[in-house]
Amino acid sequence: MSMLLPIIGHELRRLRRDRALPWLMLLFMAFAAYGAWSGAEWAAARMQAGQVVANEADTIVALKRRQLAEAKPGANMFFATPQVTPFRPILSPGVMAPLSIGQAEAYPYAARTQPLSDITMFDAFRADLDNPAVRAAGRFDLAFVIIVMLPLLLLAGSFDLWSRERERSVAALILSQPVPITSLLAGKALARALALLPPAIIVTLGALLLVGADDPGGLIATALTVGAYGLFWILVATLINVFAKRSTDAALAGGAVWLLIVVLGPALALATADILSPAPSQVQFANEYRAASLAIRRDQRLAREANGPEVIRTPASNIPDRIRVFMAERAVEDAKLAPMVATHDDALARRHAILDRLRLFLPAVATQDALDRIAGSDADRALSFQQQAMGFKQELERWLADRLDRDLLMTSQDYDLVPKFHFQEPAAGPFQAKMLIDLVVLFIACLLLGAAIILGRSAATDL
């Protein structure tokens, strides 16, 4: 420790005189501000889209209330039958949404749920029709700046932390002093961590606060994630410097590692998941589902027609019996289609599980996952929304069955009492278990790098 302090002090003095670093930090600041703004714009657009969906339901309810108020005695009250009551589960972006758009665009953000609706209730709320170039490259949000650009900033500030002394022969004089090489490397790495990470974290948090992402837990989790990911990159630079004798070699190695970890690694993970468990086609599934559904309904219609015309009870019920028949037929249809849905869901779940495991080996993916979870734009939250919406659909079916049994038309007051969808956040905020696992992954990666540095330290004394 007594050796570390002078080394850290010396390195900080040198870094203070580095003219390029302030400019690089300013550039990072500009990118972070733009990323946060871009994320905030997306979150606002998503919120607005959710509001449009909510307004749609409100408009329909208002129409129903007006129709009920204007209805004359003896009039056809079909508009008041409960199966056409609008329900709109909506997945609103979280407070920290500007941090990362993440997986949110790959999943529906709302559902047009009715008691007799089916799995296609999500179809209108998928973002699949977005610009394919944007989808391929990913959004320029703050998470992108952290994952892709922060390593470049850190590598720029530390790529030659020991190779520079080696190529300029200062290393010989240093190594002839009674200082262990591990203390030397540790001091240099710590100095860079102290000089670069706090400003990077402050810039990130500042950008988030500027756009209103001010959840204290989310900010702390973001700071921890950026700190751990940044430390990982400083240790990468340190390990490179154990072996690189020239700064150009160190820079090239740093660039290659960045390319491997940030660009190729995630792409290879996706390719691996594609090989192990190909992503089921959403379009193919939707088409097959619709075709099967139409075939079932055609058969049901033919069976109904074979039974002769509908018998109208006397006195006629408030809710036509054909609604009850439809509901029974829908239950049959759901049961017949359930295996197809389960197969599709299983394929998605398998792929999701594979990607979930692969992230344990990929620091950049683990970091993206952690940021997504802090932002609430992770796949688990979106899938939880889908499950909750499907559960809500079943609740509506029970609610409808009860009203059908009691032959109750909707009244204006009933619209205040209809079940409402309340999204239950699936995990305990930003510090959910999987986010902590992501941090552990980064911590283990740092430990492995530290071990590699210690094991290879003798190479650093080779002049």
Binding site: S2, M3, P6, I7, H10, R13, R14, R17, R168, S169, V170, A172, L173, I174, L175, S176, Q177, P178, V179, P180, T461, L463
Partner: protein, 235 residues
């Protein structure tokens, strides 16, 4: 103070140093003469612990360098051909940093300035960036570090190579002062004249072997040159 016993260094089939026996006493300047590749720099690196010996031992003040390199380095100072320092820092800042690495107990600015002055550096240069220093000025910072850490042994690898005659004479005067305060000095050099001038003992090396050891006072420069050429013409 500096002792080599059967010191050898092998790189695969190539023998860089073969069974070196050497002893440099306090107050002695031992000059190693030899052509490039003779094993002079290898000897110095083995004493510094920058290389591990294949056989034998390098001992500094009773400490086997291979066993406890840190303790040995605490007693030595290395001055290479070109004292490479941090160009962006001043002479004082460089000296302060290297003194801290050497765990010099008194690193007060006053003491370090005194060391720089004693090493012959002009006070105006103390706070100048080392990037503007000449080679001779850099050597003086190296000597100042030796003074600061009170090094008992100095290992010099062709320190005057490329210095102008005046700077070279100044440097050797500094070396004499170090010798007079009791430091053991091992210097690798090509400069026969200076070796004869400042050296106490002279070793002639060729192909990794110490061929001959002379007392500087016992030979003239002409004799030394003749012996040197005779040794180098071998094989």
């Amino acid at each position: 103070m500096l002792t080599a016993t059967g010191l050898s260094k092998q790189y695969g089939a190539h023998t860089a140093l073969n069974d070196l026996h050497l002893n440099v006493q306090p107050g002695e300047i031992y000059c190693l003469l030899g052509a490039n590749g003779a094993g002079k720099s290898t000897t110095i690196k083995l004493f510094l612990g920058l290389l591990r010996p294949t056989a034998g031992a390098a001992i500094v003040d009773g400490i086997d360098v291979a066993r406890d390199p840190r303790a040995a380095r605490g007693r030595m100072l290395y001055i290479p051909e070109m004292v490479a320092l941090y160009d962006e820092l001043t002479g004082m800042e460089n000296l302060a940093y290297f003194a801290s690495l050497s765990q010099v107990p008194d690193r007060s600015p006053a003491r370090l300035r005194q060391c720089l002055a004693d090493a012959g550096l002009q006070p105006a240069a103390f706070d100048q960036r080392v990037g503007d220093f000449s080679k001779g000025m850099r050597q003086k910072v190296g000597i100042a570090l030796a003074l600061a850490k009170d090094a008992r042994a100095l290992l010099l690898d062709e320190p005057t190579s490329g210095l102008d005659p005046k700077a070279s004479a100044e440097f050797h005067e500094l070396l004499n002062r170090q010798r007079d305060r009791g430091a053991a000095i091992l210097m690798a050099t090509h400069d026969l004249f200076r070796a004869r001038e400042v050296g106490t003992s002279i070793g002639l090396m060729r192909a990794g072997r110490l061929r001959r050891t002379l007392t500087a006072a016992s030979v003239t420069t002409q004799d030394l040159e003749a012996l040197y050429l005779e040794e180098m013409a071998g094989d």
